[in-house]
Amino acid sequence: MTAKLSAFPKEHPHEHEEDPREHLMLDPRPREEMNSMVLESMQDTPVSYWVTVGVLGLLVGVALFGAWGYMISKGMGVAGIRRPVYWGVFIANFVFWIGISHAGTFVSAILRVFKAEFRRPFTRAAELMTTFGLAAAGLYPLIHLGRTWRFYWMIPYPNQRWLWPNFHSPLMWDMLAITTYLLSSTIYLYLPLIPDMAMARDRSTGWRKKLYRVLALGWRGTEAEFHHLHTAINIFAFAIIPVMFSVHTIVAWDFAVAMTPGWHSTIFGPYFVVGAILSGVSAVTMVLALIRGTMKNMKYFIRPEHFDALGKLVLIFSMAWGYFFFNDFNLEWYGGEAVGHAVMDYHLHGPLSWIWYGMLVANIIIPWATLWNKKIRRNPWAMFTIGFIINLGMYAERFMIVTFVLSRGRMPFDWGWYKPSLVELSISLGSIALFLFLYAVMSRLIPLIPVWEVQEGQLAHTLRRIGKAEIPTVSELE
């Protein structure tokens, strides 16, 4: 009899399942406490913060604008580009930053539209990436111009010479798409910010109060105001998704409409969109890990559950990217055109083929080998590392699409190779610094956590007891 009793399982069978209260939505704190937690994170500026901002600012000034100024005064020749590789690192950077800017909108708008509740605390952090990713991307079409000081000739303005830009050119489509995206994503960032600005206005003094008073647009928080705000956010969330798709498709068309072998591909549009989302969502996990690790009170708002959810997204998009890659590459191989094979041969057996193999490891093998594991997905710094590797892989992909393809054209006499110069590397580093600088400054000016949305979510979520289990439920908000 006693032996039978000791056979009783010591552990509760559900002990390994996570406690539902680990989820932000089921772990509410008083509203005022949450407000002050967020405000504290904005006003917490230790010495390390100022050092970081100072170094980043210096890099923006010297590595980005200094090197750019040097290039303007000397000529494009200080970059490593040459015949036939007329585009190089600058255009690869451009595509890369546009890709980064995708994730913000993707994560925020698509998850909002599908009412994915886990999105609430990090939509703003993601949307900020869109704005600043576009700021970094938007510089490159200017940087890469041979005569930057004539960039305004691409703008359709009336002039006495009766000259007009050429709307047949994909570069014009680019300009229109990017300006549309920048404008709409900035409005989309600003709309959910209004109640938080009012919250900050009511709880701050000095210059901050003046700033937030302007930005809050007189928000009082009445029911009518919230109703209008929800409607506006909803319209923008739906409308910005096709804009986001169009932007990266048009960036892909910069290449795909050209008759260059290796670029002229019908799949480039969706292939680029998927690649952008893969690199962008990975970058969101990186930024979230940084915010969580460096800013005060963020461990309450950004939790392993969010990394877990984003990790699943990254895995899905890594698979989708692999599918598109397979389509693009294998059909070119099967087609058997001599030029296409020369381009492929340069990827597979050229002197820089390690970049190609490295890309496959970074974009396919590493995410597929790690992200199925919940423990890894729930570890912020593991996700940071994986996100970093995927972004390296995606950068390699853009680099090869621009420069490898141009190295092998239809005229074998003109085949060439390309070596980025110090100026190009400096400007590339400078644009990373620009993104981080703007982000770091903004993190102390606006709440990175949409507090009212988190609070709204916590109001809607409850734990109901059904039998012996506690089941999370969510009520319809709108």
Partner: protein, 237 residues
Amino acid sequence: MSETAQEKWGMVIDLDRCNGCQACVTACSLENNVGFVGEESAAYGRGMHWIRIQRYWEGEYPNITARFRPVMCQQCGHAPCEPVCPVFATYHSEAEQINVQVYNRCIGTRYCANNCPYVARTFNWFDWEWPEPLNEQLNPDVTVRRRGIMEKCTFCIQRIRKGEEDAEAEGREVADGEIQPACAQACPADAIVFGNLADPESRVSRLARSARAEKLLEELGTETKVIYLKGGSSRDR
């Protein structure tokens, strides 16, 4: 845009006559104020030559032959470079039926050069210098291009214009062979012939009808205005 491009100025290059002497390259550079980039830059693929002698080896040593092909802008009737320019710096001249480049309009996106299957375009990576007394050699009829601008062969449009204006002043048609670009003028083997393709009796038209005639990458449908003769037979002369 018509199905087949209209014909006007054209060029025939007899590859069986070309011996790769590069006289055309030199003459073109001097006529058109093409910048000198120096040895190092030229080796890195930044030579500005509007016409380049492509050299291909045939066979294995010791049974090896060098083949030469002078390649310049092919003056496509349906040019891939034209639609991609955001500011119309490269466009099709209806009057001359060639592809022209407006230097002062170019902002240097270099998209046209990426989309040129013949790699015919060159870019001014820097401001080039003509130190004294080399500046005396600059051709006053041709713009000196500054940094950040794309350029390419124009079929010596300054010579075409001058020939047309001379003929108009004298109230006559331009005679066959009257207008010669610098490369054709300098070719010691008479491998380059220039003239009006619209005139079926012109020398260039007669040569273009040769059985040896071919166009470079004709399968792309670019309707080029440069015809290469290749085959080794001399029956057309």
